[in-house]
């Protein structure tokens, strides 16, 4: 709701800016260059002091705090490297979990832990809108857990047949065209060196580089002042793709996570990053 107001303000801002530029007359190429440089300078100025740190601190607290109907902490949660091991877990997710018989990403795994250890209803957690109630918990937890693998390189396991199957299905979901615009994930992220407006688009069919694309989420969004998890990032991609609404931690989001994560092999994680 707040978001709508914000978006329309942005729209007005951009219109105003366009009008301002209509008055300008310098060479397009030079303008292009300076705009890109200017934005790079801006990003460098705000890089130090990423408010994502506030969410990391909160996430660490929430991990250790006794909560939920069972009044238990998440300290015994197995994120794939054994109960309670957080460091290095993030750069290997999504992966196969024998106890649930599923491939899970960070957030669907957190739903499992919050259900089994703390007694929360995972369906209710998944239905909670982003930025509200226990979703705030999930966002903070993903900020902290990802931060514990900061600087490490992605190496998703592909040993289990189900992990390989999810990669194949995720690839097909990535190229799945639909909706009134005929868009797929690949429409924007299938090729290197492209932009939407001035925004660089990472090629997610390959490793687009350290701290880019898959290796940059969760992130603090400057525009809304919120911490966006990968689930929320994907949700907004599908919104802009003009698709229906993807369920939180639904199969398609996990399969896409496997596809993008495996492609990002070797990329250094900078999550939680800072994004426009």
């Amino acid at each position: 709701m707040k978001k709508r107001t914000l978006l329309s303000t942005h729209h007005l801002l951009r219109t105003a800016l366009t009008l301002a530029f209509l008055g300008a007359s310098a060479c397009t190429l030079a303008q292009q260059k300076s705009a890109a440089d200017g934005i790079a300078e801006y990003r460098a100025m705000i890089a130090d002091g990423n408010p994502a740190e506030l969410f990391e601190a909160k996430g660490e607290d929430l991990w250790k705090k006794k909560r939920g109907p069972k009044n238990a902490s998440l300290e015994q949660c197995d994120l794939g490297k054994g109960a309670g091991i957080v460091k290095g877990a993030f750069v290997e997710l999504p992966r196969w979990f024998a106890d649930t018989g599923r491939v899970q990403d960070l957030e669907s795994r957190l739903l499992t832990c919050m259900e089994r250890l703390q007694g929360f209803d995972p369906g209710a957690l998944a239905r909670t809108p982003f930025g509200k109630d226990e979703q705030i918990t999930l966002e903070a937890l993903s900020a902290w857990i990802s931060a514990e693998s900061k600087g490490m390189r992605f190496k998703l396991p592909q040993n289990h047949p189900e992990e390989r199957k999810q990669f194949e299905i995720g690839k097909r979901a990535f190229f799945y065209r639909g909706g009134p615009f005929d868009f797929a994930c690949a429409s924007c992220h299938g090729e290197a060196g492209k932009r939407i407006r001035l925004q660089d688009l990472p090629d997610l069919t390959n490793n687009p580089g350290d701290g880019v694309g898959f290796a940059a989420w969760p992130a603090y969004r400057v525009s809304s002042g919120e911490l966006w998890s990968m689930q929320r990032r994907l949700n907004d991609c599908f919104r802009q793709q003009r698709f229906p609404y993807p369920g939180y931690a639904s199969d398609v989001t996990i399969a896409l996570g496997v596809y993008m994560g495996v492609n990002a092999k070797g990329a250094e994680s900078i999550a939680p990053a800072l994004k426009r």
């Binding site: 709701m1 707040k2 709508r4 107001t5 914000l6 130090d48 002091g49 408010p51 740190e53 506030l54 601190a57 909160k58 603090y220 002042g225």
Partner: protein, 103 residues
Amino acid sequence: MADPMRIRAQSAGGKATVRVLMSHEMETGLRKDSGGKTIPAWFIQEVSAQLNGKTVMTAQWGPAISKNPYLQFMIKGANAGDKVTVSWVDNKGDKRTDEATIS
């Protein structure tokens, strides 16, 4: 209760650079929700910092400071091991104080 701040304080050459992140909505009071109702203003108005218990800085802020505010300032005559305390109070009277040791 408000979430804790993140305070980093580093000394060099007898001066400490203090960088603070605060967790706050900083709502301007000018935005409307989807129903067209104005979202009431809610923002940090006063910030202060102390070095070993002595006030060295106070500031007044308006709603134009960004959400989850960032502040950087430099304290003279501060050394590693000294304590820096930062406090804020918002327009609803909510407040928060956190402490960090200068490194």
